[in-house]
């Protein structure tokens, strides 16, 4: 995708892509055969992508997770699901476009999909508040989750937020309470819940959609108690310098393999070489496969057992000495 938004460590990929594009252009203009040149270059490109993405550092993963070209909730809604109808509003204060949700079909089955929604440009980001919900966004999400429970439909959440919005209105209307209420209610909903971190899982604002029977993470997504900038700024009084951000990203253990090891998540969804932003269709296909697989397993559990297991899972979380 657009080379103009290539990340620093993706520059070699972008250069090779440019080379191939130029060769193709030449071939098109002169009607000559350049396959002999393009094929090895394409192979080289694939190898380079795989190589670079195999060795991403935590801070590089943060950059990938926040990539403006990365597939967002709306993209997955288009690519993984059919028959989507968006439902709006918390019925108490207003609509919050930082979270989208509604009925959709995953293959032949109706599901409730709820996810954070970021914007790709300034105009959309203003509408979406950069994917940072107010309390009414979380309350809408809870309303939809209870609706799903009423009709015994599984809930699939997509997590992609820097965090819950910090502002005067958000505090006045009880940001804390809204998040807390979701944690409480999600721990007792009697339908299967699968939460997937598709980009950045930022703190309580992410967790408010994350109390699930299965928690999945896309390979290059991150999930953290605080942003790397926030952590570096509080602990080392420097949230800006690349060194301190890198140190924080490493220390916080925020990558999918880290969280699988800490037993905070249950599965990792593979991304195409070069990351989800390099190929939305492939990323969506992998998510589709993972959701079907986990849903199939959860379907076998009776509601009370489902809830008991979900609670037990979260009650086990934490590492301490005794």
């Amino acid at each position: 995708m657009g080379t103009s938004v290539a990340l620093e460590f993706e520059k070699p990929i972008a250069e090779l892509e440019k080379q191939i594009d130029e060769l193709r252009k030449v071939a098109g203009d002169r009607q000559v055969e350049v396959d002999d040149e393009i094929v090895p270059l394409t192979r080289k490109l694939d190898a380079l992508r795989a190589e670079i993405y195999r060795n991403l550092s935590p801070i590089q993963r943060v950059q990938v997770a926040r990539h403006v070209r990365r597939p967002f909730t709306a993209d997955y809604l288009r690519l993984c699901f059919t028959d989507f109808i968006e439902l709006h509003g918390d019925r108490a204060f207003r609509e919050d476009a930082a979270i989208v949700g509604g009925w959709a079909r995953l293959d032949d089955e109706t599901v409730m999909v709820i996810g954070h929604q970021r914007g790709r440009d300034t105009r959309e980001n203003l509408k979406r508040n950069f994917g940072m919900p107010h309390p009414e966004g979380y309350r809408k999400a809870l309303r939809l989750m209870k609706l799903a429970e009423k009709f015994q439909v599984p809930i699939l959440t997509l997590i992609d937020t820097t965090g819950a919005w910090a502002g005067i209105g958000a505090e006045e209307r009880g940001q804390s309470e809204a998040i807390a209420r979701n944690l409480f209610e999600m721990s007792r909903l009697e339908v299967p819940i699968i939460a997937t971190v598709i980009g950045e899982g930022g703190s309580g604002g992410a967790l408010a959609l994350g109390v699930a029977d299965r928690v999945l993470m896309l390979e290059n997504s991150v999930y953290s108690v605080i942003s790397v900038e926030g952590c570096a700024s509080i602990l080392w009084k420097d949230g800006k310098s690349p060194e301190m951000r890198e140190k924080a990203a490493k220390a916080l253990r925020i990558t999918a393999p880290d969280l699988l090891e800490l037993r905070v998540i249950d599965d990792i969804v593979p991304e195409p070489p070069g990351g989800a932003h390099a190929n939305h269709e492939e990323a969506a296909k992998a998510l589709h496969v993972a959701l079907l697989h986990h849903l199939e397993e959860l379907r076998r559990l009776k509601p009370d057992k489902l809830v008991r297991r979900r609670r037990e899972k979260f009650l086990r979380m934490g590492i301490f000495n005794e």
């Binding site: 009880g174 998040i179 409480f184 952590c231 509080i234 934490g318």
Partner: protein, 287 residues
């Protein structure tokens, strides 16, 4: 009391000691009122002049809320590990253990409150800013489990800047863990009273602190999701007067009542009586 001024610099410490024991006097950090220490202590560390509630230790709250001689510590042996190998965390823990005690950021006890048996958790800001890591979450979960088993009411006093960064996403998960436990208490109709003290912010506020069957706040406490500094920085503007105080939350419908420290015990007792299906000690029929 113009003749007494606490020196800004620790000048002539010996002479000071000889004249007046410095610790016999306390000065209110809110209004500057100076009084003999004993008066502050008797007033539960609330300024006798302006009513400012000074921060106190967890053990002091236990003394304020529970009946003398009824208290037994629960789960005293849990200690924070360093699950992520986080830079400087072991050193910080060691320092906190030395200066604030062994209870980590929460002291959990069983006892009676006006003869009603309760399980009480009290967060302690002195231990790493009352930050919630795995130990805090586990102690709350175990305290909640005891409440489930014995049908004792649960009371938690919060004082926390939020999740403990040094335990990363494990700290975040403690929010869900506590909420999952409270959902179980709720289904069994076991009352849970949440008391918010200064400050209650971040991950603690967005979890058990805001999930009480009754939520009580001490006067003047800072309570919110984001800290005021973060909001000020995000918005680039000054915050309204009294923003995120207990009284602000009361006005906005986020807490049930604001209760001075001296009346906490009576108020919690009253609430628990109402929520346990027991008749009030001094009900309408008696008065």
């Amino acid at each position: 009391m113009v003749w007494f001024r606490k020196d800004k610099k620790p000048r002539q410490p010996l002479r000071q000691k000889l004249e007046i024991p410095a610790d016999a006097w306390e000065k209110c950090e809110q209004c500057g009122h100076t009084d003999i220490r004993e008066k502050f202590v008797r007033n539960l560390s609330v300024c006798p002049s302006c009513g400012y509630h000074r921060r106190i230790r967890a053990i002091e709250y236990v003394g304020i809320l529970l009946d003398e001689g009824s208290v037994e510590e629960v789960e005293p042996d849990l200690r924070s590990a360093d699950p992520l190998g986080f830079p400087d965390y072991p050193a910080r823990l060691k320092k906190a253990l030395g200066s604030a005690g062994d209870e980590d950021a929460i002291l959990t006890v069983s006892g009676t409150l006006g003869e009603t048996p309760v399980n009480l958790g009290v967060m302690d800001f002195a231990f790493m800013g009352g930050s919630m890591g795995s130990v805090v979450g586990e102690k709350i979960a175990r305290l909640g489990q005891r409440s489930l088993e014995r049908k004792y009411a649960l009371v938690i006093i919060s004082a926390s800047g939020g999740a403990r960064m040094q335990e990363g996403v494990l700290s975040l998960m403690q929010m869900a863990k506590a909420a999952a436990m409270l959902a179980q208490l709720s289904e069994r109709r076991i009352p849970y009273v949440s008391i918010l003290t200064n400050p209650t912010t971040g991950g603690v506020s967005a979890s058990y602190a805001m999930l009480g069957d009754a939520i009580i706040a001490e006067p003047g406490a800072v309570i919110g999701f984001a800290g005021p500094r973060v909001i000020k920085q995000t918005l680039g503007q000054d915050l309204p007067e009294g923003f995120q105080t207990s009284e602000f939350l009361l006005d906005h419908g986020m807490v049930d009542c604001v209760v001075p420290r001296g009346e906490l015990k009576r108020t919690v007792g009253q609430l628990l009586r109402h929520m346990s299906g027991q008749p009030a000690a001094t009900g309408w029929a008696a008065s």
